[in-house]
Symmetry: C2
Subunit: 319 residues, 2 copies
């Protein structure tokens, strides 16, 4: 029942990143011609295969001439490029405005000029701020993000919606839970293993450990996006994407310590939040995509387990 994707190359911004590279692999496997636009600030060229139908433009969305040609003739843009680290915005408030909101504006302007018809966007659960409803549905309001990262994600959603209505695009807004996978260059698993590498005897964990969030594997995230995008075509389509449950930071820390040989002592810095702007509780309602027929296979704990296993196997960590 999936709609046939019309022809024309598919552009993936942030395509060399931990989620983008998984998407690129799936699009190539589906036979599509793929153009990656990535400034390689956190993405890595080695995340991408060499493939006759793949081209990589090292361009920056804040500099339209550097990427604009990639949109020529494109039918669909998946917009995944962003500053990936929520915490950076506290010290550098401009980074999410520049790499999120303004970058997205330039991308949408280019999409309009090149008559791209479909844009799909990696938004985030952080647009909900600190919601009073768990699991949090797509209709939740008011949307009061608590970080510059979250503000930029909501600003990008708003721009996408305006462009869809004013210029005839179809947009999909995917609000991600925490996404985990082997290619991550940031995030809790990356951070905890990095800390243990520096001091194998002690693991400092931000907050009181009771922060609890839902974790979804990058490949499930990509599968969910593709599933929903192929089956919905409203002017604006909003979907939460997360696991069916959540896991606490304490449990994650214990899993990481166990995978690292079990010797480290865990010290919590205390406080409800891991950092200023942290959202300590997150559980997304995923009934909307489940009603379409897609449910993630892994619980949050299993998504974390698998990622830890991969990080150990790939020798990025030494147990």
């Amino acid at each position: 029942m999936a709609h046939r994707e019309p022809s024309g190359p598919t552009v993936v911004t942030g395509g060399a990143g931990a989620i983008g590279s998984v998407l690129v692999g799936r699009l190539l496997a589906d036979g599509e011609e793929v153009r990656v636009v990535d400034n390689l600030s956190s993405g890595r060229r080695e995340h991408l295969p060499t493939h006759p139908k793949l081209s990589v433009v090292v361009g920056d969305l804040t500099d339209p001439p550097s990427f604009e040609a990639a949109l020529e003739g494109a039918g669909t843009v998946w917009h995944l490029a962003a500053n990936p680290d929520v915490r950076l915005g506290i010290e550098q408030p401009r980074i999410d405005l520049d790499r999120g909101t303004i970058a997205t504006f330039h991308l949408l302007e280019a999409a309009r000029r090149h008559d791209v018809r479909r844009v799909r966007f990696s938004s985030s659960s952080v647009v909900y701020g600190h919601p009073r409803t768990f699991p949090t549905p797509e209709e939740y309001g008011p949307l009061l993000p608590e970080s510059q990262y979250g503000a930029a994600k909501l600003a990008c959603e708003a721009l996408m919606s305006a462009y869809a209505h004013d210029y005839g695009l179809t947009v999909h807004l995917f609000r991600f839970a925490n996404i985990v996978g082997p290619a991550m260059t940031h995030g809790i698993l990356f951070d905890l293993f990095e800390k243990l590498r520096q001091d194998p005897s002690r693991l400092e964990v931000l907050g009181d450990g009771r922060q609890a969030k839902s974790y979804l594997r990058a490949e499930e995230c990509v599968a969910g996006m593709q599933f929903a995008a192929a089956r919905t075509a409203e002017t604006v389509n909003v979907f939460n994407l997360g696991a069916i449950d959540r896991i606490s930071v304490r449990e994650i820390a214990e899993k990481v310590v166990a995978a690292h040989g079990g010797r480290a002592r865990i010290d919590f810095t205390g406080g409800e939040r891991g950092w200023v702007g942290d959202v300590p509780q997150q559980l997304l309602a995923i009934e909307k995509i489940r009603r379409l027929g897609w449910t993630p296979e892994l619980t949050s704990a299993r998504a974390v387990d698998r990622t830890i296993e991969e990080m150990v196997e790939s020798r990025r960590v030494r147990p």
Copy 2:
């Protein structure tokens, strides 16, 4: 029961505009020291009185050095500056990003540097897009604006929320219905009278005339903001501000024609919307501010009537 406003001058961006100048008058009447920041692009110096406690900085929020000094020692900022014309964004998609989102970012950065504790923002009903619920409450979601203007208002709300949480500000977000008053330099009444001035025999009205929205007088809008701001102090406080009812574009056109001598023929251009990005139906739920103890005195029809009377009396129109 109102909180006493702490000392320190009060800054009003867009203070020379149709709403800002009314606010400035009330703040001066309350004995406050007021600093207006306005680039006079749509505001007018003659909207403001000469007053020993009023200073006017002709500055632009997109150019921080031009206004930053006005925030020195300020306790409260009312941020009303914006591109006032929703329709401009269709042809000039960058105008609301620049004068809305980026300008607001610069203002918030300056507020943070100068340790301003309170920021109040003129948001808009257009953040709701085309809602399915009328009257629309503050908790409505998802927020999918249909114009660049609306996208910028939502982006500004998101920035305000992030700054409030991350840097300890208290912010108020006021989502306005259509605001009318004698000093307007845009909007439906201004437009319709301008059309009749050019051709007194015929009044072209955009859309099918069935668009229906709530209209609030500028002085009631200002009174409502002051009332709510003095009584609420959450980190982020969101309030709708509108009349208790709505009025159709057809009724407004008939009132304008009657005030102009009753001779013009009304021609509707047709279609559900007045223009691309227009929100044809708007009625805000105002129970939240009513529960605090404030209700607008005028219906939408009376707010429109009074404004038409003033426009006729001030000879801005010739019946």
